[in-house]
């Protein structure tokens, strides 16, 4: 499901926002192996769907394979696909907003730890100018294909401007 994923997640998010804002019932499981609450917990019922980001099957993530070096720390990471499945499970259990959170998270799996922490700090109040926030939104979109996150940061930039929460809005404490 490689390249179509961006489109897929974007459409899922549109659907979720529509549901939240008065549209019809959400598509419970738009694609993605038709995963729903009936498949939960995936770790017990759908191990076939679980693998590390570089493709090691769930059942091979064992102590023995850690000791032999076949499995490394980075293998114990959630994949974008699994966040999709968990988002579908949340929606089918009636929890739309959790799926939106996982849609952002799904995009963030591509962003390095350090950069995520920096972006978080930039989103704190009075840390960034509007242009700086828009630049982050651009980076999210262009570098990581993270359109949901980009939209969210743009929205923050507008709110911060209206509520005077941008960098220039307070006397600098430096």
């Amino acid at each position: 499901m490689a390249q179509s994923n961006e489109e897929l997640i974007a459409s899922v998010v549109r659907q979720l926002m529509k549901e939240l804002n008065g549209g019809s019932a959400p598509a419970a499981a738009s694609g993605d192996a038709g995963v729903s609450a009936a498949d939960y917990p995936l770790g017990m019922k759908r191990r076939d769907l679980l693998k590390s980001p570089r493709g090691i099957p769930f059942d091979e993530l064992t102590l023995e394979n850690v000791e032999s070096g076949k499995v490394i720390f980075e293998d114990f990471s959630i994949s974008a696909d699994v966040l999709n499945y968990q988002g579908n499970i949340a929606v089918s259990a009636g929890r739309t907003q959790i799926a939106l959170n996982f849609a952002r998270a799904r995009e963030m799996t591509k962003i390095p730890d350090e950069r995520i922490l920096e972006m978080y700090n930039s989103l704190r109040p009075h840390r960034s100018t509007k242009d700086e926030l828009l630049a982050i939104a651009g980076e999210l979109q262009d570098k990581y294909g993270a359109s949901v996150c980009a939209g969210f940061v743009k929205e923050a930039a507008d709110v911060y401007e209206r509520r005077k929460l941008l960098k220039g809005d307070l006397p600098s404490t430096d």
Binding site: N21, Y40, F76, I78
Partner: protein, 557 residues
């Protein structure tokens, strides 16, 4: 009163512990008002083309950042006209009516404005709130969380206490520090000790937001909880965040396969001097809705570290129960506080916990001090390990499941000793300052940090820093344990690392069983619909609760 003849009765009463507590009358302007303040906004909603353009008497252009976030992300506008048309009493009656299923209550509640929600709560008495809690909490089976801290930040004692806590039944454990630089070691001690006491334990290290995320990313903790949200814009900004930054952070946790919940509580805005004249419960409602809108699965609330504020005003402890109930009604996991000390009166501290304990919540305490009070680094606990047998007796008296089980002394000594030896092995393998056999022995048998010696603190701190600098991960700890003969503990660490891949514990109100199965509101939803339904204590569990070791057995007489 000087010079007047005193009543001996009144002199006795004045010397009771409750007179050491702070009580204050309502003070509307500064927000010293538990719930239903005359200055709280009046409920209203106006929707145009799917957007909330007016909420609780305020037009969109005037929304604070919190109000905008809540209006856009936390209110189901499709259901809002129907839900808002109902009276407060009508909605309150739905919550206590066994004939109205939980999902229907959720459908209505998630379409209300903050002012409306606060008013629904104010139309209920405490017993009605308890009835509603029983139906509305997300997960059917209640659970409990412990605080595991040490006045000395002693890693061996922390590991032993973590093991004992989880062996006694706490499914989540939380630590924090006396000395900040000890934080990586505290996380490590709980990671190892927690799994020794019960495979499947979730552990966390409550510190500054960015650090918490970092240790989580490394696999040294499994979840985070102290990610605070507030009910007024100025206090939120004082807390150095916005709903957008906090939501971004929440997604960052999920993107690393880490469980997390937000934290809030009545009284925090008053304590920070910016309640804008609103009642504590109204402001807390906004916090719960920010959490909902962020897509975070749960919330720790119940005043938490601000309990002294609602505890001092009329109806304050009722408001604390109400904030827990709001969280449940918005279909969020609730870690319902009951934690910090607020009173000198044993009666008050017990009564404060009754609504949550008797009705059952996802996490009744968040947490219960698993150490003596002097070792509790969350500024003292409402209940601590020295109250544990009282707690066990209460479970037995009322046939309630408070998440704990009676234990035998020799078994506790054994798990404490194993945890102490396991952390000793990890320290040795990673070249950290040695843990002596004497330290292992002392921490095995100790009650608190007064019973044990001191560590070489500067050396420990250097090593703790190295743990972070060298990028040591949960996998490295598992390897160290396996190499030094603690294979079963190493397996437990790997089992928990695998949770990050499956992501099942990201769902609402999760805990992990010892075989790795995750239970949450998805596969253990609350189905309460009156007597004979909902959580039913198994015969096995009831036998366990009954069997307090110090009870006289009929066959021995």
């Amino acid at each position: 009163m000087a010079g007047t003849k005193r009543s001996k009765r009144f002199e006795v009463l004045e010397n009771r512990p409750v007179h050491l507590d702070g009580f204050i009358g309502e003070w509307i302007e500064v927000g010293l008002y538990a719930m239903g303040s005359p200055q709280d906004p009046k409920p209203s909603i106006r929707i145009e083309s799917g957007k909330v353009v007016e909420m609780d008497g305020k037009v969109r252009a005037d929304f604070s950042m919190i109000e905008q976030f809540v209006a856009d992300y936390a209110i189901n506008v499709k259901n809002a006209p129907e839900a808002m048309a109902k009276s407060e009493v009508e909605i309150a009656r739905m919550l206590v009516d066994i004939n109205v299923p939980r999902p229907e209550c959720i459908r209505i509640f998630t379409a209300l404005t903050p002012a409306k929600i606060a008013r629904v709560m104010d139309s209920m008495n405490i017993v009605e709130m308890m009835m509603a809690m029983q139906k509305m909490r997300c997960r059917q089976t209640p659970a409990n969380q412990a605080h595991v801290t040490s006045a000395k930040d002693h890693p061996v004692m922390l590991a032993a206490d973590a093991a004992e806590a989880t062996y006694r039944g706490f499914k989540e454990i939380e630590t924090t520090v006396g000395v900040v630089r000890y934080a990586p070691f505290n996380a490590l001690a709980l990671l190892v000790g927690g799994q020794v006491g019960r495979r499947g334990t979730l552990s966390q290290d409550a510190l500054e937001e960015a650090f918490e995320l970092q240790v989580g990313m490394r696999g040294l903790t499994h979840y985070a909880e102290t990610v605070s949200v507030y009910g007024t814009e100025s206090v939120f900004v004082d807390g150095d965040d916005t709903p957008w930054s906090k939501s971004f952070l929440a997604s960052a946790y999920a993107s690393r396969g880490l469980k997390m919940r937000f934290t809030s509580g009545t009284g925090s805005e008053v304590q920070m001097g910016a309640a804008e004249g609103k009642s504590m419960l109204y402001l807390e409602t906004l916090c719960v809705m920010v959490t909902k809108g962020a897509g975070v699965q749960g919330l720790q609330n119940g005043s938490i570290s601000c309990i002294g504020v609602p505890g001092a005003v009329p109806s304050g402890i009722r408001a604390v129960a109400a904030e827990n109930l709001i969280t449940m009604c918005l279909d969020l996991e609730v870690a319902s506080g009951s934690d910090q000390t607020f009173t000198h009166s044993d009666q008050r501290r017990t009564a404060r916990t009754i609504p949550q304990l008797f009705a059952g919540t996802d996490w009744i305490f968040s947490g219960y001090s698993s150490t003596p009070n002097y070792d509790n680094m969350f500024a003292g606990s409402n209940w601590d390990i020295e109250d544990m047998d009282d707690y066990l007796a209460l479970q037995r008296d009322f046939k309630i499941d408070g998440g704990m089980r009676p234990v035998k002394e020799e078994d506790v000594i054994a798990v404490r000793n194993k945890a102490a030896r396991a952390i000793q092995a990890v320290f040795a393998e990673l070249g950290f300052p040695p843990i002596t056999d004497e330290e292992v022995e002392a921490c095995t048998y100790a009650n608190g940090s007064k019973d044990i010696g001191d560590r070489n603190i500067p050396e420990d701190l250097k090593a703790a820093e190295r743990l972070m600098k060298d990028g040591i991960t949960g996998v490295d700890i598992a390897k160290a344990l396996a190499k030094r003969g603690f294979r079963d503990v190493a397996e437990s660490l790997i089992l928990m690392m695998r949770q990050r891949v499956a992501g099942d514990y990201l769902q609402t109100s999760s805990w992990v069983a010892s075989d790795g199965t995750v239970y949450s509101a998805v596969n253990d939803p609350n189905t309460y619909a009156g007597p004979g339904t909902g959580y039913k204590m198994s015969d096995e569990r009831w036998e366990e609760i009954k069997s307090i070791p110090w009870a006289i057995r009929a066959e021995d007489i």
